[in-house]
C-alpha cells in the first residue's frame, strides 16, 4: 500500500497539452476516482502512474520513491484495462499466473495463489477455460484476479465496468469496493460515470482539459462544486445568474439579486465570500426544489409547469419561472403528479441548497 504523490505533471502530445501542471496526493489505502468528460486527460494521468507514459515535466512518487522514469514492468502496480487485455493464447489460470511467473514465485505458491484469486472473484473451477469461452462479466473478473494476484502496490482501474450491462455494473461496484477495502489497497479508478464515482469513491478528482478542477469527497464535490462545470458534471442542476447584493441577516448566507427576485444562498467555498456587486452563478439541484411551503426560506420561484416526466422513483417537472429561466424540479415518488398547466405554481428551495459559485 503506497501513497502516490504527483507533482507538477505536464504532458504534451504533439503540440497539444493533455496534462497541465497536475498536483495530487493519493493516500495509502484510499479508493480514489479520476472523473471527467472524455478527452479530459484522466486515462492519460492513470497511464502515467502505470508507467506507460513518461511526463514531459513533473514527478510521480510512490511513498518516497521517485518512479517518474521507472519502466512500467518495474512499478508493481496492478492494472485493469478497459478492454480487459486478456491474452487469448493463454487460458484463465495462465492469464492469472502470468504476473507471479514474472516474479519467479515457486510453482506451488503460484498454483495456490491463482486458485485463491479465482476463488475470490467467484471463478473457482474455471481455470482451464479459454478466454473466448467466458462472458463479458467473467472476463472482467479474470482481469481483476490477474491484477490482484500479484498483491500490487496499487490497483489501477481504467473504466473497468464500461463494457458490462447495467445490472452487472451495479453488482461489480460493490464487489470492487469491497475487495479494495478488504485488502486495504490504494486504488485509482478512472471513469466518466458520476454514479460510479459518487457511490464508490473515498475521494475523487474532477478533471477538465488536462487540469484538476476539484479534489474532494463525493459529498464535498456534490454539495460544494468548485465550478459551474463540476456542478453540471456531477449531477443535474439549475443555474441562475445574478449579482451579489449583501451578506444577509443570517450568518454565512448572502442575498443575490436575480431577474425574478432576490435569492438567498451560501458560498461553495468556506474561504470565499462573494463581495457586494460581484456577478455570480447560483446552482440549485432539482431535488432541492420543492412545491411545499418552506417558511424559513425566502427562495421562491413562481411560475407554471410546462412539462412533466414520470421516471418511476421520481417525477421531473420543467417549471417556467416568471421573468426567469426554465428550471428542473424533482419530486420523489409523490402522491399526486402535477400535469402541465397555465396555473401558477410556486416552487421553493432551502437557503442551504442554493450554492453561490464564482462567475
Amino acid at each position: 500500500m503506497v501513497t502516490i504523490t504527483i507533482q507538477e505533471l505536464t504532458k504534451r502530445f504533439g503540440g497539444s497539452v493533455v496534462l497541465s501542471s497536475v498536483n495530487l496526493q493519493i493516500e495509502a489505502g484510499e479508493l480514489f476516482f479520476l472523473l471527467g468528460p472524455s478527452g479530459c486527460g484522466k486515462t492519460t494521468l492513470l497511464r502515467h502512474i502505470a508507467g506507460f507514459y513518461t511526463p514531459d515535466e513533473g514527478k510521480i512518487w510512490f511513498d518516497d520513491e521517485d518512479v517518474t522514469r521507472l519502466p512500467a514492468h518495474k512499478r508493481g502496480t496492478g492494472m485493469m484495462f478497459q478492454s480487459y487485455a486478456l491474452w487469448p493464447h493463454l487460458n484463465v489460470a495462465q492469464n492469472v499466473a502470468f504476473g507471479l511467473e514474472e516474479r519467479k514465485r515457486p510453482r506451488k505458491e503460484i498454483e495456490h495463489r491463482v486458485a485463491e484469486a479465482l476463488d475470490q472473484v467467484k471463478l473457482d473451477g474455471l481455470g482451464s477455460r479459454k478466454i473466448q469461452q467466458l462472458s463479458g462479466g467473467q472476463q472482467q473478473r479474470v482481469a481483476l484476479a490477474r491484477a490482484l494476484v500479484i498483491r500490487p502496490k496499487c490497483l489501477l482501474l481504467d473504466e473497468p465496468l464500461s463494457n458490462l450491462d447495467a445490472k452487472l455494473r451495479l453488482e461489480m461496484r460493490t464487489e470492487i469496493r469491497h475487495i479494495c477495502k478488504q485488502h486495504g489497497l490504494t486504488a485509482i479508478y478512472v471513469t466518466h460515470d458520476r454514479d460510479e464515482a459518487l457511490s464508490m469513491a473515498d475521494r475523487m478528482a474532477i478533471m477538465e482539459a488536462g487540469k484538476l478542477v476539484q479534489v474532494g469527497t463525493p459529498t464535498e464535490v456534490y454539495r460544494n462544486p468548485a465550478t459551474r462545470m463540476v456542478a453540471e458534471f456531477i449531477g443535474e442542476t439549475n443555474f441562475v445568474e445574478g449579482r451579489t447584493l449583501r451578506e444577509s441577516s443570517w450568518a454565512g448566507f448572502f442575498d443575490v439579486e436575480t431577474p425574478f427576485g432576490t435569492l438567498r444562498g451560501r458560498s461553495n467555498d468556506s474561504t470565499w465570500q462573494p463581495a457586494p456587486g460581484q456577478p455570480v452563478v447560483l446552482s440549485i439541484r432539482p431535488e432541492a426544489m420543492t412545491f411545499a411551503n418552506l417558511t424559513d426560506s425566502p427562495n421562491r420561484f413562481p411560475g407554471h409547469i410546462v412539462d412533466t416526466t414520470y421516471l418511476g422513483p421520481t417525477v421531473q417537472y420543467l417549471l417556467q419561472v416568471q421573468n426567469g429561466p426554465l428550471m428542473k424540479v424533482c419530486e420523489i415518488n409523490p402522491q399526486e403528479i402535477r400535469p402541465p398547466s397555465q396555473e401558477e405554481t410556486r416552487a421553493m428551495a432551502g437557503m442551504n441548497d442554493v450554492v453561490i459559485l464564482r462567475k
Binding site: A72, R75, A85, P88, H89, F98
Partner: protein, 564 residues
C-alpha cells in the same frame, strides 16, 4: 440480393471449382494411381520414393523449402518488429521499398545473379581487381553452391510475404495486451516472447505456409540455375515424353501431398481463432523514438535488405543495357540495342501480346468469380458459404505445377475436356489456370471490401425504394471498387509472371507467354540472355507499376491479400 440469386451464384461457383479445380487435381491423381490395365496401383508412387534420382529431388526440394522459409522468417520478423514499433529515418519510404522484391520475378533475377556470380562475373572481377583472387583460378560460385544460390534467390524474393503478414498482425495487436504484461512485471524482451510472438504466430505462419509451398514447388529459379535435382524441374524435364509416362503425375501427386500436409498442419496449429489478434485495439500504439544511432541502424537494416534483394535485378538491368559484360565489375559499354532488338524479335513481341491477352482475360474471370464468392461468403447466410470461401482459398495450398499437370491430364485426347485445347492453342487453359491460381487474392481483397462496407448502407438504399440488385450496384460496388481494382491488378500482374503453368501448358513458340519466352531466350546463344534481360526489364516495369498502383489503392491492407 435475393436468396435465389445467392444460391445461383453459389451453384455456379461450385460447378466451376468442381470442373477447374477439383477435377484437374483428380485427373492428375488418377494418372498417378492408374496402371496400364486401368486398375489402381501404388507402383508409380512407390517408384518415386525408391528411385534414387526422384528421392534426391524431393529431398532437395524440401531442403530448399525449409531453408527458404527459415531465411525469410529471419529477415522478415525483425524488419516487421522494427517497422511497427520504432520510429526511424525514412520509415514510410523504406516500408514500401522493402516490398519491392515481391514484384521482381526471381526467375528474371536469376539471370542477373548468373551474370554477377559466374566465373567471369562481376563478383570475381571485383575480387580480382582488389587482389583477393587469382585471375587464373576464379571461383565458380554457382557451380559449387547452386542450391545455396537458389535458396538465397528465393529468400530475397519471398520474405515480403512474411513481412506483410507479420507487420499486419503486429499492428492489429491490441497494445493493451502487451501493456498488461508490462504492468505485471514483464520486461520488453520477455514480453516479446511470451505475449507478442504467440499472438502474431497465426499471421506469421499463414505467410510462412505460402512461402514454404511456393519454394517447395518453385520451378523457374532452379531451371535458370540449371539445377535439375529438384522435383519441379524433374517434372518439367519429363514433359516431352508425357504421353504414357505416369511418373510426372506421380511426382506431382507427391508434391501435392507434401504441400497439403504442411498447409493443414499449420492451419491445425495456428489457424484456430483462439490465438489470433485479440480483439480491437483500445489504445493507440505509439512508435518508440529511438536514440539517433539505433534509429539509423534500423534504417541501414531496411536499406541493406532492400539493396540485397534488388541486386540480382540490377544485374538484369545492367545486362539488358550491356554490349559485353565479361570479366568486369560493370559492363564495358552500354547500349539500347537489346531493347530495340527485343521489340523486333518475333518471340518477344508475340509473347508480350500473348501475356497481355492471357492475363487480361484471366483477371476478368478471377474478378467475376472473386466478387461472387466474396459477396456470398460475407453478405449472405446461405448454407455452405464458408465452404465456398475455403475452397476459393485452396489454390494457395496447391502448387501451380500440380494444377498445370491436372489441366494437361484432363484435356488429353479422349477426355471430356479435350475441347479446351482448341487444337494446340493454350489460351483457354492458361486463362483458367491463371484465374484459378490468383483467385485467393481477388477473393480476400473483395471480401475485405465487403466487410468494411456496412450492409446497412445497402439496406438504407432498399428502404428508399431501390431493388436489392440496384442497391448493390449503386451503393456497395462503388464503395468496394478500390479493393476490386487492387485485387484485379494483383491477379493481372501475377498472371503476367506466372512460371509453372506457362512453361508446361504453352508448347508452341507462337503461344509462348513472356516467362516462357524469357526462358527460351536465355537458352539461346549469342545475345539471347541480353534480349531476355530486356524483356525481363519490360516485365518488371509492368509489374512495378501495377503493384504500386494496387498498394496505393489498398493502402495498408495489401498485407491482407497474402494470408493463407
Amino acid at each position: 440480393m435475393s436468396k435465389s440469386l445467392s444460391i445461383l451464384i453459389f451453384l455456379v461457383m461450385t460447378a466451376f471449382f468442381a470442373c477447374f479445380f477439383a477435377y484437374p487435381i483428380w485427373a492428375a491423381l488418377e494418372a498417378a494411381f492408374r496402371g496400364p490395365d486401368h486398375k489402381f496401383t501404388l507402383e508409380y508412387i512407390s517408384e518415386v520414393f525408391l528411385n534414387e534420382l526422384y528421392r534426391e529431388g524431393l529431398w532437395n526440394s524440401l531442403i530448399i523449402a525449409v531453408w527458404t522459409t527459415l531465411g525469410s522468417l529471419a529477415i522478415a520478423l525483425p524488419l516487421a518488429v522494427c517497422y511497427v514499433r520504432f520510429a526511424f529515418p525514412g520509415r514510410a519510404l523504406l516500408n514500401s521499398l522493402v516490398l519491392m522484391p515481391m514484384i521482381l520475378p526471381p526467375f528474371v533475377g536469376a539471370i542477373g545473379i548468373k551474370a554477377m556470380l559466374g566465373q567471369a562475373g562481376a563478383l570475381n572481377s571485383l575480387l580480382i581487381n582488389l587482389g583477393l583472387m587469382d585471375a587464373m583460378h576464379p571461383t565458380d560460385w554457382l557451380g559449387q553452391q547452386r542450391m545455396l544460390g537458389i535458396i538465397i534467390m528465393e529468400v530475397l524474393h519471398l520474405y515480403p510475404i512474411i513481412y506483410l503478414n507479420a507487420a499486419a498482425a503486429l499492428s492489429n495487436l491490441d497494445p493493451a495486451l502487451e501493456e498488461a504484461a508490462a504492468n505485471l512485471g514483464c520486461n520488453a524482451w520477455s514480453r516479446f516472447w511470451r505475449v507478442t510472438l504467440p499472438l502474431i504466430m497465426p499471421g506469421v505462419f499463414a505467410g510462412g505456409t505460402i512461402v514454404f509451398v511456393w519454394s517447395f514447388t518453385e520451378m523457374g529459379v532452379p531451371l535458370l540455375f540449371d539445377y535439375d535435382r529438384v522435383t519441379a524441374v524433374q517434372v518439367f524435364r519429363s514433359i516431352n515424353d508425357l504421353s504414357g509416362n505416369p511418373f510426372p503425375y506421380a511426382l506431382v501427386t507427391v508434391m501435392l501431398v507434401f504441400s497439403t500436409l504442411f498447409y493443414l498442419t499449420s492451419k491445425l496449429f495456428f489457424g484456430n481463432s483462439s490465438a489470433s489478434g485479440g480483439g480491437r485495439a483500445t489504445t493507440g500504439r505509439e512508435t518508440i523514438k529511438l536514440p539517433v544511432w539505433i534509429g539509423w541502424a534500423c534504417t541501414a537494416f531496411f536499406a541493406g535488405v532492400t539493396f540485397l534483394a534488388v541486386l540480382p535485378h540490377l544485374g538484369v538491368v545492367l545486362l539488358s543495357f550491356s554490349k559485353d559484360w565479361y570479366g568486369t565489375v560493370i559492363p564495358h559499354s552500354l547500349t539500347l540495342e537489346h531493347y530495340h532488338d527485343a521489340l523486333g524479335h518475333e518471340l518477344t513481341l508475340s509473347s508480350i501480346a500473348n501475356s497481355l491477352k492471357y492475363s487480361a482475360l484471366a483477371m476478368l474471370v478471377a474478378l467475376i468469380l472473386g466478387i461472387g464468392v466474396a459477396y456470398v461468403s460475407v453478405r449472405t447466410r446461405i448454407w455452405g458459404r464458408q465452404i465456398l470461401d475455403a475452397m476459393a482459398m485452396l489454390p494457395l495450398a496447391v502448387p501451380g505445377i500440380v494444377m498445370a499437370f491436372g489441366y494437361l491430364a484432363m484435356t488429353r485426347e479422349g477426355q471430356p475436356f479435350h475441347w479446351l485445347m482448341l487444337g494446340e492453342d493454350p489460351l483457354l487453359l492458361l486463362v483458367i489456370a491463371y484465374a484459378v491460381r490468383r483467385l485467393p487474392y481477388v477473393v480476400r481483397s473483395a471480401a475485405a471490401g465487403f466487410q468494411q462496407v456496412s450492409p446497412t448502407l445497402e439496406e438504407a438504399a432498399q428502404n428508399l425504394g431501390a431493388r436489392p440488385e440496384k442497391a448493390l450496384w449503386r451503393i456497395t460496388l462503388p464503395l468496394v471498387a478500390p479493393n476490386l481494382v487492387a485485387g484485379g491488378l494483383l491477379a493481372f500482374s501475377f498472371a503476367m509472371l506466372e512460371v509453372s503453368d506457362s512453361m508446361i501448358l504453352a508448347q508452341q513458340a507462337a503461344h509462348f507467354p513472356i516467362t516462357k519466352a524469357i526462358y527460351s531466350l536465355v537458352l539461346s546463344l549469342g545475345s539471347g540472355p541480353n534480349l531476355a534481360s530486356a524483356l525481363g526489364v519490360w516485365a518488371m516495369i509492368f509489374l512495378a507499376v501495377t503493384i504500386l498502383g494496387a498498394g496505393v489503392i489498398l493502402g495498408k491492407k495489401l498485407g491482407a491479400l497474402f494470408r493463407g
